[in-house]
Structure formats: C-alpha cells, structure tokens
C-alpha cells in the first residue's frame, strides 16, 4: 500500500475537508455561470433563505436533523470498514415500522406511543440493514451490492404495501391515514410556546434533540467504548481483529444493525415530526446525502453535525433560491453533494497530497 501522507491533525481534519468543500462550491459556481446566472447573487439568496430569517433557520435545522441521522448511519458502518449505501431502503422500512406501530397502537397514551414509534423505526431500519450485514459477515456477499438491491426491494415493497394494503379505502393517494395526534413529535415552535416563547413556525421539531443525543452517544460508542474500539479495529484490519479475539463477523452485523437503526431516525423526523403519515418517497434521496455528510465530516459525530448543517443550509437555501431564480432548481444541491462526495471521498488523496506538499514547503521556508 502507498505510504500514508503525513500532516498535522488540524490539517487532516479541518483543512482538507474545507478545501474540498470550497472546490465543490467553485465548480458549482461554474455550473451556475454556465447556465447564465450570477453565482454571487445565487449565494446571497441561498444564505438569506436558509439563515436570514427565523423561519428559514428552522427549516435548515429540520433538514440538518435528517442528515445527522443518515450521516451517522453511514459513519458507523464506515468505521467497521463497511459501505452502507442502503440508507434509503433502511429509512423507508423504518417509515413502515412507524406506520404499523402508530396506527395499530392508537389506544396508547402519547408518552408511550412516541417512544414506541421511535423504537419501531429503529427496529425496522436495523432489520433491513441486518440482512445485508449477515450476508456480508457469513456468506461474503458484497455489502455494497446487497444494500443497493435492498434499496430497490424496499422501494418496490413500499409501493406495493401503500397501494394495495395500507392505503385508506376512500383515499386516492398511496398513503396511510394520519397517525394519532398523541404520537406527533411536537414542533419546536410548539415546544417553545409551552414556555411562553414565540419562535417562527417551521417543520423543525424535537427530533433535532434526539439527533444531537444520538450523535453524542455514537461518539461515546465509537471513541470511548470497548465495542467502538472493536468496530474500529475490524474496520482498520480484520485480520488483526481476529488475533485480538474480536469476531469480525459479529462486529459487522452489529455495526450494520446500528447503522440501520440510525437511518431510521430520518423516518422519525420526516414522518413522526412532520408528515404524520406514511407516504411514498419521503426519503427523497437523503440516504445518499448521508454519504456526502459522513465523508465530509470524516465519520466523526462532530464533523457530521457541521456537515449536516451545511447540507441543511444547501437544501433550505436551495429551495428559496429555486423560488427566486427558477433556472437554478434544487437539483443544484444534488450536484454539490455529488462533487463533495467526489472530492472529499474518491479524490481525497489529491487534496491531501496538495496540502501535505504545501505544508512541507512552508515548513522548509520557515526553517
């Protein structure tokens, strides 16, 4: 293998990701230029729409909540050396779990129903990830391919269930009936209103707190626990793990179960926090954004929160921007996500080598 590129920690964890993001934005700016729009005006609309108003900020944080969950999901698997591209499918199944739990346990009071919904989401997401995990661990089937297949299986399954089984008989739309009111996770503006504080209305709900707590717990797990250590050892060197008495197969399955459960958080935020029913395509490709978020955040919970915030700004600001400048549709965010994945992931070495080179130059010049 090639020699690792030596550089100080701050350069590795902050400078390199920052450079890839800046490069991604420069290229995105070129795309905006090439379709005849002004990138600077676009950036202004983007920032104004996402951070300039209280309402915009609420929406930004709502999207960030989604991305924290899927980012953590990708990161946990990544630490175990696995590439979980199945966030979409796992979140879809989690949505199914939520709908089944909430619409069948309507007799329960809210303080039981909400945790029941969250647990159902985690369990269904975990189960959908456990199968590819098991197949990778025990049968050697490549996790990337199986999770891709499971994404498509999930999308076919959910269409079938919503059209034929779960749909309200009178309804034309392929969606379930509204979840019982007691199961709705309160909106942030509602929660603040309990204390007499008025904040602008938005989709932002208390799931954000669950996301931040999850991020902290995952940090504890990965960097401060025995299991997390085992996960990182398996990810770094499965052969060494065996000698250390760690079973890679067991760790792979555990990491995938955790990863799937975390992906379920996306369904909690979208369905229990906002839509209050199960509908088609509520995952909106966010599972793939999770890959960008995890790569950019260097698979570290703190990095993931920051990267999620950035993508929250992009999604909310992108919606506002599309409203102001119809030529720049929200697909721009997908493009930026793609470029970030390319730069922070696949072309990572390019920037690392560049930074290492520049740093060594300045060191020589200083000496």
């Amino acid at each position: 293998m090639s020699a690792p590129i030596e550089m100080p920690k701050w350069a590795d964890t902050v400078l390199v990701p920052a450079i890839s993001v800046v490069a991604a934005f420069l290229i995105a700016g070129l795309v905006v230029l090439s379709i005849g729009e002004n990138p600077l005006t676009a950036t202004r609309y983007l920032l104004q729409g996402s951070l300039g108003t209280g309402e915009g900020l609420g929406f930004t944080l709502f999207y960030a909540t989604d991305f924290i969950f899927v980012g953590l999901a990708v990161a946990v698997a990544y630490h175990a050396g696995l590439f979980n591209i199945g966030g979409e499918g796992q979140a879809t199944l989690a949505g199914l779990g939520i709908a089944l739990a909430l619409n069948n346990l309507t007799f329960l009071p809210g303080f039981v129903l909400v945790p029941a919904g969250i647990l159902a989401a985690a369990a269904f997401g975990a189960a959908w990830a456990a199968v590819p995990g098991y197949l990778q661990a025990k049968r050697g089937s490549h996790i990337v391919i199986t999770t891709i297949m499971f994404n498509w299986l999930a999308s076919v399954l959910i269409v079938y269930l919503l059209v034929n089984v779960l749909r309200e008989p009178q309804s034309m739309n392929p969606e379930t009936r509204t979840f019982p009111g007691a199961s709705h996770i309160p909106f942030m503006h509602e929660a603040f209103a309990w204390f007499g504080i008025t904040i602008p209305t938005s989709q932002l709900n208390l799931t954000l707190i669950l996301a931040l707590v999850s991020a902290y717990l995952i940090w504890l797990l990965i960097y401060r626990s025995r299991l997390g250590y085992a996960i990182r050892v398996v990810g770094a060197n499965p052969a060494a793990a065996v000698y250390a008495g760690i079973s890679p197969a067991r760790i792979i399955i555990i990491a995938m179960v955790l990863s799937g459960a975390l992906a379920g958080g996306l369904a909690v935020n979208e369905l229990m926090g906002y839509q209050h029913r199960l509908l088609l395509e509520f995952t909106s490709g966010y599972g793939f954004v999770g890959i960008a978020v995890a790569l950019m955040g260097r698979a570290h919970p703190m990095g993931i929160i920051l990267a999620s915030l950035l993508f929250g700004i992009l999604y909310q600001g992108g919606a506002e921007l599309a409203f102001e400048q119809p030529n720049i549709t929200r697909d721009m965010v997908v493009v930026i996500g793609g470029i970030i994945i390319l730069f922070a992931g696949a072309l990572d070495g390019l920037f690392r080598r560049l930074v290492a080179y520049l740093l060594s130059r300045t060191k020589l010049a200083g000496a």
Partner: protein, 301 residues
C-alpha cells in the same frame, strides 16, 4: 395465451433488455479490468441527456449518439481518474457519478429548455427508427457487442491482458504492461457502451429525455452482471431475462385474474433484485467477482 401476445411480450422484452445489456457489458469491461463501476446508472443518464440534446440541436440521431458516447466517456474518465490515477474509493466515486449525473441533467435541461428538465420531443431523423424487424440500428449494435466482447476478452492479446489486470495486476505489471493503460481503456470502452445504452433510451426507445429516465436500469444491469458471473453470453441471457420480467410485468399491469385478484406487479419487479441477493448469498451457485476488482493498484517502488 395466444401467439400474438407471446410475440408482443418477446418483442418488448428485447426492447427493454437493450439498455440493460449495454450497461451490463459496460460494467463487465470495467470490472474485468479491476475497476468496480456502480456509476453505470449515472453514465447512462448523462448520455441519454446529451444524446437527446444533440439530436435535437443538430437534427440527427447519429450526432446524438456521438454526443451521448462523449458525455458517458467523459464521466467514465472522471471515475477512472479517481479510481485508477488517484487510487480513490471506487464505490464512493461511483456514487458521486450517479449524483452528479442526476443533478446536472436536471439542472441543465431545465435551464436550456425550461420544460421541467425534459428535452423537446424528437421526431423524424432526430430519432433512431426501425431498420430491421422494427428494431433500430442501436439494438443490433448492442447485440453485436456481445460476441465482440466475448471474442476480444477471451481470444485476443489485449483482452487476456485486460482480464489479467482484473485478477492479478502485479503480474501484468511485472510483464512490463501498463496497468493504468489497460484499466483506462476498459473504463473508456465501458463509457462507450453506456453511451450507446443511454442514447437508446432517449433517442431510440423514447422521443426525448425525461429527468431520471434511467430509473434504476444501471443497477439492474449491475445485478445482471453478477448474475452472468462477469461473462458476455450469460450477460445477454441475464439481461434478456430481466427485460422479459419487465415486459411481463407491463403486460400484467392492472390485469385481474379470477381467484388471485389483481396481479401484484411489484412482485415481478422485485425479482431481479431478489434473485441477485439470493445468488450473492451463495444459495444457488456462487458469483465470484474478478479478484482485483475494487482494489487500487499501487506500483511497487
């Protein structure tokens, strides 16, 4: 079921299997050289857009094909640069290619034509019309690629070297043959094939580009590739099988069978994915990828 319906189903199965086959063979070339390619979907999408846009602008389906291939090869080379020269993660690069293609085609299509990402409808010489048995030239080009792939990979010096690079690049390197050179040519050939597949979608099968019109075909092609165990003739079989399933599902859509009720079309749609997972699990036979697939090659210093 009478013969007429069977003929219709077989005919539409062939039509539906052509884009799968093109992408599947593209994946075959790339992965046989050791470069895993989950960006087939994105390359087809970008070529479908470029082909439709060029066919509309220049009023010729063949110029459309040229641009479709160019766009797809360009994306293939990005993937090649990341995975061969930069030794980056090939899966990550493939995901990036798919996202870039989905985003760029939608945004540029919307900016150019203002029709929600669609290109204007193509007609007359802007499209590939049937030349034989109602099928267009592209169908025959893609079908011809099967024996060609089989022959080149199995019977020529270039093909044998290319396959060796996918199994044991160090040995090829020791023999003094360029590993990156072979891998880049494989990725470029994959780009050409994806370009033909994408062009077939927007300029042959349909009359214009629709946002996200590949609709997962690149991933079904990936499934077919595993099913075919990375071999050309079985790839034809697997793609035709998956095309046939698709055709049957279309035929049965909304059909009511007494006793069963409405046919769950989704069950048929799920079959390719399900069969691939079962195959990968090693329950029926075993699909073993080229040994060096996905592993960047580092020349010894």
């Amino acid at each position: 079921m009478d013969l007429g319906i069977i003929a219709t189903i077989l005919d539409s199965a062939l039509r539906l299997s052509i884009p799968l086959l093109a992408a599947c063979l593209a994946g075959l070339w790339s992965e046989r050289s050791g470069v895993v390619d989950i960006g087939l979907e994105g390359k087809m999408l970008v070529s479908a857009f470029a082909a439709a846009a060029a066919a509309y602008a220049f009023g010729s389906a063949w110029i459309g094909l040229a641009f479709g291939i160019l766009a797809s090869v360009a994306f293939g080379l990005i993937h090649g640069f990341a995975s061969i020269s930069q030794r980056g993660n090939q899966i990550v690069s493939g995901v990036a290619i798919n996202m870039l293609a989905a985003g760029l085609t939608a945004i540029v299509g919307n900016a150019w034509y203002g029709q929600g990402g669609r290109t204007p409808p193509l007609e007359g010489v802007q499209r590939f019309d049937g030349i034989l048995l109602g099928h267009s030239a592209l169908v025959y080009i893609v079908l011809l690629a099967v024996p060609l792939t089989w022959f080149v990979l199995g019977r020529t010096r270039f093909g044998l070297r290319l396959r060796a690079v996918g199994e044991n690049p160090a040995a090829v390197d020791t023999a003094g043959i360029s590993v990156p050179g072979l891998r880049y040519s494989a990725v470029a050939i994959g780009g050409i094939l994806c370009g033909i597949g994408g062009t077939y979608l927007s300029v042959g099968q349909a009359a214009g580009f629709l946002p996200n019109m590949t609709a997962g075909r690149g991933f079904i092609a990936l499934a077919a590739l595993i099913f075919a165990k990375w071999r050309a003739w079985p790839a034809l079989g697997a793609c035709f099988l998956f095309g046939l399933l698709d055709a049957i599902a279309n035929q049965l859509q909304g059909l009511f069978i007494p006793g069963i009720g409405e046919v769950p079309v989704q069950a048929i749609q799920a079959l390719p994915y399900l069969m691939t997972v079962i195959l990968l699990a090693g329950v029926i036979g075993k699909a073993i990828p080229p040994r060096a697939a996905g592993v960047p090659y580092v020349k010894e210093r």
